[in-house]
Assembly symmetry: C2
Homo-oligomer: 311 residues x 2
């Protein structure tokens, strides 16, 4: 069994490679739910939805999130009732949030709901939210705590980042199956996702960090920072805010206490030595997932770094 | 102040006439909420929405409900998650239900929410739900109790009607302002709505029936039964189920203990004597609301029957 710790867009692209190489029923994704929030009273889980939409071929590829060809009539109408509209929700996508909220109110867990959605979209892999309890990633700024999505989308990452707080993490538990999946994994792959918020929020759930120490499988991370900048998203601003070097070395340092192998891009070959100085063997390969073949090649290289071989 | 007891489509057409004749700020609509139900976990109030959408010129005129030109992408997606789809909800319309549900969960009352929606759609009249407590109209059939909307839409009125039950009415209270509006009205107009379910559910709210006795204004009803059949909807099946004659006479008998004047269509002129035998003065006029002029003429005739004169 392969476990993948996943954020949203970067992780989904990485997973598009993994599912070309590993049978879906041998894959468990542990998804970041720190970006989850209530919009119009509906519970939105951006990262799990991005993974499901992407792997099922339903995603709006231009954005990397939402459903392809979606309309936004409900949102326009909601705006006329006085709601903010910086968080774009299409009509078909809204159905997912209506459904999730409906089932949560009926007492279903986020795990159960996510499993149902995964199946509805025809996927065979297992997607586990990191926790069934709400954990919300907030950015500490001079204006106070701001939900990560608001910081990123509404405020366009313009605030000074003083800290990142995972509200609710203290008392949360890993979702059922998360700890066992990590401990029993043949390999744990850390997708090229934001190390501070996406992977950071998964690591904030009590017990997950320890499980990464205890797993008998290799833990292999792919750096989301290439050539000194993130492929996508505000990882650089958050890393700087937390005084983390914006490079594959900085990422490796975040993960060093449980990481077995780091995978970095060819552009960063010169950083191999610095990462290996941390005691982390480092593989240099093409990590730019420009097309389907590049995605599969990266998945193969990462699995090979974990000591596993797939055709 | 003119009070109108209102169901959905028939009442909205009648109100389109009333607002041509009476300034909106002199009108209070008391709306049936017995058709309200939860769909996908969202609270839907069919009749108040029909009134608001119709009077604001936003309604889908072909159906008489919903918003004109609406799409149904969310509903299609929800169907793929296993939901039933017999209750058509467009995307823009869904925004109304998302908004209502969101505010209810925040502790707002249905009255407050309805007032807000009325204002959002640019209307100046006052629309009061009959009650802020949920009351749901159920049809007693050989298969058990069935929500009125399910009986009418999903089951196409095919069940034998044994009784009509207003679930929750026993312990409900009239919404704030309802009793005062009726008691202080210059006239209470009973729209040509289904007498059993739409008006019947309003009358089921404790205190409303008594207020109709106590009002100093005239109580005038327009028969929704013309030529032995309802203009729209299943009133005939429900009336037969309750052993009520399917005619303007049967309607007048339902309202006789508080009704001052009955307004019937020219086609039913031969029923005037039978209704007057009940002690109810009866006005014969054209009640078929074929166009805007006919609607205004009907409103004028009804107001005149109530002893009021508008230009």
């Amino acid at each position: 069994m392969i476990v993948v710790l996943a954020g949203g867009v970067g992780a989904s692209r990485f997973l598009e490679g993994v599912i070309q190489v590993v049978p879906q029923d041998q894959i468990t994704v542990i998804a970041n739910t720190g970006d989850d929030r209530d919009v119009y009273g509906l519970r939105v889980s951006p990262d799990t939805d991005i993974v499901i939409y992407t792997l099922s071929g339903s995603v709006d590829e231009k954005n990397g999130w939402g459903l392809r060809g979606d309309t936004n009539n409900a949102m326009q109408q909601l705006t006329s009732y006085g709601y903010e509209n910086w968080f774009w929700l299409g009509d078909r996508d809204l159905a997912t949030h209506i459904h999730r909220t409906n089932l949560l109110r009926q007492g279903k867990t986020l795990s159960e709901i996510t499993a149902g959605l995964t199946k509805s979209f025809g996927l065979q892999l297992r997607i586990l939210p990191m926790s069934d309890q709400p954990i919300e990633t907030h950015i500490k700024t001079p204006d106070g705590l701001i939900h990560f999505e608001e910081y990123m989308i509404k405020r366009q990452c313009s605030d000074e980042v003083q800290d990142v707080i995972f509200v609710g993490a203290d008392t949360a538990k890993p979702a059922p199956g998360v700890i066992d999946a990590i401990k029993q994994a043949d390999a744990v792959l850390i997708a090229p996702s934001n190390p501070i918020v996406s992977i950071g929020s998964i690591l904030s759930v009590p017990g997950i960090h320890e499980a990464l120490h205890e797993t008998s499988g290799m833990v292999v991370a792919v750096s989301p920072i290439v050539g000194g900048a993130p492929i996508k998203g505000p990882a650089d601003k958050l890393m700087r805010g937390l005084h983390v070097e914006v490079s594959a070395v900085g990422v490796a340092r975040r993960y060093r206490d449980f990481l077995d192998v780091m995978v970095i891009d060819e552009q960063d070959a010169h950083l191999k030595e610095a990462i290996e100085d941390l005691g982390i063997p480092t593989v240099v390969t093409n990590t730019i997932m420009s097309d389907s073949v590049a995605k599969a090649n990266l998945a193969r290289a990462v699995l090979q770094a974990a000591g596993l071989h797939f055709a």
